[in-house]
Amino acid sequence: MAAEYILEMKNITKRYGENKVLSDVSLKIRPGEIHALLGENGAGKSTLMNVLFGMPVIHATGGFEGEVLIDGQSTTIASPHDAMLKGIGMVHQEFMLLPGFTITENIKLNREITHPSLLSRVFGKNLETLDMAAMSQDARRALDSVGMSIDEYTLVKGLPVGYMQFVEIAREIDKTGVKLLVFDEPTAVLTESEAAQLLRVMKSIAQKGIAIIFITHRLDEVIEAADGVTILRDGKFVCETRTADTTVTQLAELMIGRKGESAFVTADPREFPEDTPVALKIRHLAVDMPGEQVKDVSLDIREGEIFGIGGLAGQGKVGIPNGIMGVYDSEGDVELFGEPVRLNDAHAALKSGMAMVSEDRRGVGLLLDESIEDNIVFNAMQVSGEFTKSLLGAKLKDSRKIREHANEMIRELDIRCFGAVQHTGTLSGGNQQKVCIARALTMNPKLIFVSEPTRGIDIGAKKLVLETLVKLNREKGMTVVMVSSELMELRSICDRIAIVAEGEVVDILPVNSSDADFGLAMSGIKPGSASGKEA
């Protein structure tokens, strides 16, 4: 007899040292159901999934309390491999693909199809020869079922991120006997159309009887795709409902635990007179950032403005701040308050009074093995020598001042942590993002770039981040350049929005332009010019 639930996690409690990050959490998944797992940053969603997969971090930190049942049978899951054997697959938040392998090789990794050979007769099964033809057939089938037409012999290296996400999914559904798939924030890196495709794929997988646990911060996706929802708050189970019985607003309230607060920030757009001094003057900027090439961008950003840069993923909007801040090779002329900025020199860029919150927080954003406070003051200390005191001519860290400042930042940005000395590597994804923002603010920049500032953070935190940006802008006169894929977010606080396509600025639009105008601009057509593409 089939059990009613394919997976039940009962009364799970998990401590990391002193800290209880999950207490008495339960989760029940029916076969073929798409079940959303919601909660603020640090609520414990990833940790719960780590428990489910028997991840080494869990065992290394003292295991957990509670019971896991698969198909009604109580089980212990010793390792991710064990989870796989029991029919649980994971589409990872960071990509688990080998760049030097083809798509086929990645999909069939460690599940290769082989036939016996001379060597294997002597040395055993491990030396059987790979049957590439059969492997690529399987890969083809899996790719087709996620709607990807790409050649299965393509190398993964150089694939756009969206494609990699789909390859990961193809790999999971190719596994025989999968009963349950976990998607941890799969849509965070996808463009809107890719995200829509992903939801379609998820539904078709679910129709085949495979259950899906879906972690996301985008509540509209939940309403659209999920059948059931479980909400966590501060490591505690809040409730479980059917999506049909609820709304986005209700979900938001349940997650945050407060009522009646609007999840949206709005700052009225302002008109700046023509003679406002220019804060950042960009002329013919070209940036060699893989996947986000900038070809020729010229912009004038006015002092005191909140300037938005939007566009589809891969069109080059993210390349602009990365080029100016010296993260990737760039060419062109950039002036900050009339002073030329030396390109290809990250130190000079920081020193000149600009700061950036990077979209790539794990790559260049954070020192994961260092504490929150050290991360927050790192740039300020390196670049302008703040937070140091002199002792006999040597510069020493001023620990007291650092701690005070870090605590202030933790409070202001609501960084959910166990204290300023916690390593950033052990923070939840969204809270890492907040540490990045705190570090940029600590530089006291005259101009701040924020690149995808709200990616992967929950609605409450999103509001906080946007509010902080507005506050800094209005109270301290800081010029803000915000790069984002989410038009809603740009429109809520910016004064003007530039839309980038194919490495060039298509147009600069006022915030209240129509959706149609934005849509046209994103596809490279300057609104109002019937002749089409000529920006």
Binding site: P80, L98, F101, L119, N126, T129, L130, P290
Partner: protein, 417 residues
């Protein structure tokens, strides 16, 4: 773009190009005739190619150059000593030593693998230090344990008037294994090429018959190329060039088998695991591959192969220095593979063979060139030692450089491709 591609190519193959230039210059000043150089080169190739090929698997498995192959070499030398002590003779004693090397080298390799798994990311320096440490144990074994604790009855093996194993082990006395592998079957180059071509052609045809995708055009081109090489080798010019060379068919046959083994292995499930672990341990682990085990297997295979390589080397020379022969093995083999264009993360058979050729060409030519240019052979000698360390240092720096400085460059290269 063509120009850019050339520059890219040159940058990726600095070491190889530099070596070709150095060899060409040395050739001009050495005063050696080409046929003498060929004679020397073939001799050195038959001695050294095998051990260089033994480095490939650990590189593919992401463990860098396995400097611990010195330990495999020690296993082979211990096997030689034991075989002599037991009074085995001729080619049989070579086979016995080869068989004896396997369990010893495998055991050592397993131990090395265990230790290197504790120091992931530092395998190269770790392997080197392990080599030094093992050298100490080896000396203890040869100087003290043999002859004092384990009696050695063959008087030729021990130090006269004292205890311990003698400094030089002679393998070329009557009935010794020295040169027995070479003497099995020797042919002039023109005929040797025919034999190898025949075997390769047979292999290709069989492969063609058994494969699903019957690519007749490709087969035709391959067979045609083989035929052309065979014909060319029959020309008088070529015959002249190789007039002094007698190809030891068995030795080169074994080298060819090892190349084949490397290729076939990479097409097996285990080979796929090597490559996966080499690219990214985390991803491999997430796919359920037992990363530590795969790494141990890689090092074990490499160590056993290195043992056989050293055995081929010493039987070819007909003697070895008990306390020095293994010391530089890792260094020289490592330098050779790097010269061929391999890096600490990528290596192929072709690179190993090309590297062995270039590296030993320089070994042959540098002293003579040094003597003719500066009147002192020692200069050439310094030069080749300098080059050897230089190559390794350069390869390591370039690796470090390409892994910090960005993946950007990498992406550029792929974009252009």
């Amino acid at each position: 773009m063509v120009k850019k591609n050339w520059r890219e190519f040159a940058r990726n193959n600095v070491v190889t190009i530099m070596f070709i230039v150095v060899c060409a210059v040395c050739m001009m000043f050495s005063g050696y005739t080409p046929s003498y150089v060929m004679y020397e080169l073939f001799g050195r190739l038959s001695r050294n190619a095998f051990i260089v090929l033994a480095l490939i698997i650990p590189i593919v498995a992401g463990m860098g150059i396995n400097f611990a192959i010195t330990i495999g070499a020690m296993a082979a030398q211990i096997a030689c000593i034991l075989v002599l002590e037991w009074g085995l003779q001729g080619f049989g004693s070579f086979l016995a030593a080869a068989a004896l090397t396997v369990p010893m080298a495998a055991l050592f390799g397993f131990g090395i693998g265990k230790i290197l798994n504790k120091m992931k990311g530092q395998e190269m320096i770790g392997g080197m230090i392990l080599g030094y440490f093992a050298n100490g144990l080896y000396q203890l074994l040869c100087l003290f344990i043999f002859d004092n604790i384990i009696p050695i009855n063959n008087p030729n093996l021990t130090i006269k008037g004292s205890s311990g194993i003698a400094n030089t082990i002679d393998l070329s006395k009557a009935g010794g294994m020295g040169g027995t592998l070479e003497k099995l079957w020797q042919l002039p180059v023109s005929q040797a090429v025919l034999v190898f071509a025949l075997v390769i052609a047979a292999g290709l045809v069989i492969g063609h018959v058994r494969s699903h995708r019957k690519d007749a055009k490709k087969l035709g081109i391959q067979l045609g190329a083989l035929a052309i090489v065979c014909v060319l080798m029959q020309l008088p010019v070529m015959k002249n060039l190789f007039s002094m060379v007698k190809v030891p068919m068995a030795t080169f046959g074994i080298v060819a088998l090892l190349c084949l083994f490397n290729v076939v292995l990479m097409r097996t499930r285990l080979g796929q695991q090597f490559r996966a672990v080499g690219q990214n341990r985390t991803v491999a682990n997430a796919a359920g591959i037992n990363v530590d085990k795969v790494r141990i297997i890689a090092i074990t295979i490499s160590t056993v192969l290195a043992g056989w390589g050293q055995l081929i080397f010493v039987q070819n020379l007909g003697a070895f220095q008990t306390y020095g022969a293994a010391d530089q093995v890792g260094l020289y083999a490592g330098a050779a593979i790097l010269v061929g264009g391999a890096s600490v993360v990528r290596a192929t058979n072709t690179q190993a063979l090309l590297g062995t050729v270039l590296f030993h060409l320089m070994f042959i030519l540098a002293p003579a060139a040094g003597k003719n240019l500066f009147g002192d052979a020692a200069i050439g000698e310094y030069f080749r030692v300098f080059m050897c360390y230089g190559v390794i240092a350069l390869a390591l720096v370039m690796h470090a450089w390409s892994s910090i400085a960005p993946k950007k460059k990498h992406h550029k290269a792929t974009d252009k491709a």
